[in-house]
Symmetry: C2
Subunit: 321 residues, 2 copies
């Protein structure tokens, strides 16, 4: 049962909250229901104390580093954490280790399916392979729904910056699309996958070729986006001439990770997909010639919510009452 | 520990068998080690009786209907069954129901990862989706490693029958390649996937357009293969002219299943892959616009053995000692 729900503006608490009421109270900002004093993060765990439910689970659907900083703390207290927020295990090694150590002590589980690929079964399959004795050698993937959409639609006919604004209008990018183009989001996702595959990289060990750097004249704001048009058209022409397509690819190989624009032959395992599809190829002892490939929508409220629900149900079913 | 190992010619039994010796004894046909009287299937369970190991697991890596007929019987006795043999849950509804009912009674688990896609995580992901509350609407896939190889290599330049013989020589097909071309193997696999997805189809409810029927003049044996060349070239030309490729596709849709040759546009979720790659697209409530796609090598001793090992380890880890 739902005993506490909150966002950055307030929170509601009760013995048995009704999701529809929570939605009205929190999202529609109805002030008589949302109590700002409860939004204090240090008190969230209190809602689960006492004669509460057997499975104490906190679900983090924020993009907040402040909340992610509590993940290890909650796990230490035996509270399961299910999260779509990449900032727990996709940023500093220190924060990831704290989460990992807390999970290793066995009091609580960490549900992180929704942190990469919006609930696509990526982390689960990487862990399943290893549980069966396989060793992961490398991972390569299209890990950003917004960048996937851009390169699935960019045909060199219209300016790249126009397409970015179109993606922004359609809600596929962050409010400032430069956050997507910077590659920072993809850096966090390849870190999460690498760490799950047994390569504990630090955040600054990922080499990121930001798309923003293509606009090398350093123009700011909207001018910056237009500065991308010429270099992107040039890269598109060169790739097309070679029968290839462009993709923004994250790679883990030989213990090193990098993120950036690549040319993909038509037969490359990462060529293909549509819309905001994420696509990840995994090479291992077992999948050494041809990789295991998992593909599907990697962004969206529905699939992200489903990923969170999967993890919560899995935890509830597999841990003792 | 390994207490019994057998093939159709004999078997070995001991308190703690050494795999290397078993291999020499059974595969190299060393008669002083292999005892034909032990190969009696009705006695296999005896090897696991008494003060044996806590987890009693029988691994079936045969292609034998006789062995598959014992699956339900072993499960009823509380012995876990891990199988690469499709004849247990991919043939009659009666046999599948007996296995399903035995598993439902909860005494033992059935590890069937290796029955479709040689251990690719297909069945597991289909079941995981449903466990999270998702409903599968349709499944479409390239489910035969040998047919995938044939259509990944057929370019209309050489006669199709030549390519079939090449695949046979490379060991990608059954000893008689017509068994692959008949579509019977693919029929069994789509039955297994459909039943796992909650659609308990009978075997004769799958419409199979056998490639052999393309050679409609009814010529026998090798003449039959050559009779394929003209109709296949014709279909290849027509597909190429439309910018499409050919694939041998199994589909489950609206509760019905069919298997046969299809044209796939370059952007189709099933276009792509290489070698003997299997590729399966799953549409569900959650994956409604773009499907979840899983791709990877779907044939080979290594990946099949790994799939069997995965299931055995998962059972050993998740069931009480």
């Amino acid at each position: 049962m739902l005993v506490h729900a909150g966002n950055s503006r307030g929170a509601m608490r009760g013995e048995r909250l009704c999701p529809a009421e929570v939605k009205r109270g929190l999202l529609d900002g109805n002030p008589w229901q949302a109590d700002p004093s409860l939004a204090n993060l240090s008190g969230v765990a209190d809602a689960l104390a006492g004669n509460g439910p057997a499975h104490r689970i906190i679900i983090d659907a924020t993009a907040s580093g402040e909340v992610a900083d509590y993940h290890a703390h909650w796990l230490e207290q035996g509270i399961h954490v299910v999260t779509a927020c990449k900032l727990g295990s996709g940023t500093t090694l220190e924060r990831w280790r704290a989460i990992n150590d807390a999970v290793a002590r066995g009091n609580a589980r960490y549900g992180d399916s929704a942190t990469v690929g919006a609930g696509l079964p990526l982390l689960r399959n990487i862990r399943d392979l290893q549980a069966g004795g396989d060793t992961i050698h490398s991972i390569a993937g299209v890990l950003s729904g917004s960048l996937a959409w851009l390169f699935n639609h960019y045909d060199g006919q219209q300016p790249f910056s126009q397409l970015v604004l179109q993606a922004k209008d359609a809600g596929y990018t962050e409010p400032d699309p430069r956050e997507d183009l910077s590659g920072d989001d993809v850096r966090r996702k390849i870190l999460i996958l690498a760490r799950a595959a047994g390569v504990p990289l630090a955040s600054d060990e990922v080499a990121v070729d930001s798309l923003l750097e293509l606009a090398a004249d350093g123009a700011s704001a909207d001018a910056g986006l237009e500065a991308l048009d010429a270099p992107m058209a040039e890269r598109f022409e060169a790739a097309s001439a070679a029968g290839a397509q462009l993709g923004f690819i994250a790679r883990l190989q030989d213990g090193r990770a990098r993120v950036g624009l690549e040319r993909l032959d038509a037969t490359h395992p990462l060529a293909g997909g549509a819309g905001t599809d994420n696509r990840v190829a995994i090479w291992s002892d077992r999948y050494c010639d041809q990789p295991l490939v998992i593909q599907g929508p990697g962004a969206g409220a529905g699939v992200t919510a489903a990923g969170l629900l999967d993890d919560a149900l899995r935890i509830a079913r597999s841990t003792p009452d």
